[in-house]
Amino acid sequence: MLAYVVRRLGFLVLVAVVVSFITFAFMRLAPGDPAELIAIGRFGEHVTEAQVEQVRQQEGLEAPLPVQYVRWGARAARGDLGRSLVSGEPAAAEILGRLPATVELAVAALLVSLLLGVPVGTVCASHRGRPLDVAARGGALLGVSVPNFWLALLLILVFSLWLGWLPSYGSGGLARLVLPAVTLGTGMAALTTRVMRSGAVEVLSRPYIRAARARGLSERTILWKHALKNSLIPTVTVLGLQFGRVLEGAVIVEAVFGRPGIGRLLVNSVYARDFAVVQGCVLLFAGVYVLVNLLVDVVYAWLDPRIHYGAGGAGA
């Protein structure tokens, strides 16, 4: 198990290197002189040739691309991500300051997805093939097909503008969390429902369920007390996958709802070509995503003692 965890952490380094190199290469090859952009950030709109040259020397921007990347990587490994072009603050501090709003959103969205997906999926499984099941599966398919930015606008229109029940902008407080979390959570609930349903269908066909029926237990007890727990295992395993959706969704949902989270910081930094912050966000996303998936695998092995990760059985 320990060897497995160590190997997965090694994989995290690989992911971070590949993703940050792609970002790095695109950033540096894109039109526009990075030295000039930094100089503008530092000295104001009107910069002289000399100032640009000075920045180029200071920041080591005259070196070949691979050398620059290695230098950046060495600093990043020590936790120094450089300074934001926009605010002049250290990029790491900037990013960490935005983290709470995104974590809040991610947790709330996962909660919405579980609260919606687990019961619906379970009911579907017990009503397999009947109208309720077909309707819920259709709903789940619709759920993955709806663009979350459209859903966000529809929710704002109905619940903020027409009914006036909930605020549509900013962060802080439960009321401002509801609409973004529902937007993100319903899309994820679609996957939860599917996985939960197939898990429960499988569990319901097992002998111990038949034994429970033979003992005369009510269908309700069998479903919610005997089958539910075992059916949850596949749902737990896709939580890691779901987390990727949260990160992707956060970028869009935070933009629509004006939440000051990492996703919005990333989009704004991309617009401003704030290299240090973009790279920092990308590293954070990579780290969080890989670690969450590792955590899910570990929890999975703990939930189901038949699974153990031996040598050679890697996998992303």
């Binding site: 992911v15 459209w150 991309v270 992303a316």
Partner: protein, 292 residues
């Protein structure tokens, strides 16, 4: 009996019968109907549009639906229905182009990795696994934003992220196909590696790739419209659905029709691809996750 069927026909048969089984299912049929609607709008859009999609007239801006403008007008007085119809080509065409490029690149790299093995395999699949372990849309947003907002850059960014899915499938299929007796036979007859891959192995990997591409089309239509919505894709005045939705944001209360219809168009298109993909996967008996 089956020995007498030619190679090409034998390869085509599971594909054709799979397609037929797919269309015979309720979800497959519904998906096909939706996709036919999308196709019709893409082909006939400019002809069917009741008005000139580019004709702006401030005096009739933000009008609710009427006989003249069935879905209302936008902030510049342009006909929303006409823009929606003409925009089909941009919104769906973008997705088709991304998937076509990704499929080509991914299938070739995946096939090479699976066939060659060794260092090439480790290099390609290392990159694929690393990229699959990162939320793709986030990387695409970074790439598209850095390259500068344009339709082409958005497509490039999404293709740069999307090809990995096909590479993994192609590699797996090639790995399982390369030891098949018919491949051994072709090799014994003196076929070179390129001929083996292109003529004998790849045609047998089509089903899983086709299923993946169907989901991929829905996924990419969604992702491309998301990039346009964020202002990183199609630029004004091109009538693309995501960009139209973005404009509608500022007029939610005054003119909700500006964002309702493009959103519905995206949803129905993506639903069409997802329904078809589901039916196709079950009909062709391809085992793979629905979407990544």
């Amino acid at each position: 009996m089956h020995e007498f069927v030619t190679g090409a026909a034998r390869r085509a048969m599971p594909l054709l019968s799979g397609l037929r089984r797919m269309a015979g299912r309720v979800d497959g049929a519904l998906g096909c109907v939706l996709l036919c609607g999308v196709l019709a709008a893409a082909v006939l859009g400019p002809l069917a549009a009741p008005n000139d999609p580019a004709a702006d007239e401030v005096s009739r801006r933000l009008q609710p639906p009427s006989v003249r403008y069935p879905l209302g007008t936008d902030e510049l007085g342009r006909c929303v229905l006409s823009r929606l119809l003409v925009g089909t080509r941009y919104s769906v065409g973008t997705g088709v182009a991304i998937v076509a490029v990704s499929l080509l690149v991914g299938a070739v790299l995946g096939a090479v990795a699976g066939y060659a093995g060794g260092a090439a395999d480790r290099l390609i699949m290392g990159a694929v696994d690393a990229m699959l372990a990162f939320p793709g849309l986030v990387l695409a947003i970074v790439i598209a934003g850095v390259l500068g907002p344009s339709l082409f850059n958005a497509m490039l960014a999404l293709a740069a992220v999307h090809w990995t899915a096909y590479a993994r499938i192609a590699r797996g299929s090639v790995l399982s196909a390369r030891t098949e007796p018919y491949v051994e036979a072709a090799r014994a007859l003196g076929a070179g590696p390129v001929r083996l891959l292109v003529r004998h192995i790849l045609p047998n990997c089509i089903s899983p790739l086709l299923v993946m591409a169907t989901f991929g089309l829905g996924h990419m239509v969604l992702a491309a419209s998301a990039l346009s919505f964020l202002g990183l894709g199609v630029q004004a005045p091109t009538p693309e659905w995501g960009a139209m939705l973005n404009r509608g944001r500022d007029f939610l209360l005054v003119a909700p029709h500006m964002m309702t219809w493009p959103g519905l168009a995206i949803t129905l298109t993506v639903l069409g691809f997802n329904l078809t993909g589901d039916a196709l996967r079950d009909a062709m008996d391809v085992r793979q996750p629905a979407r990544l």
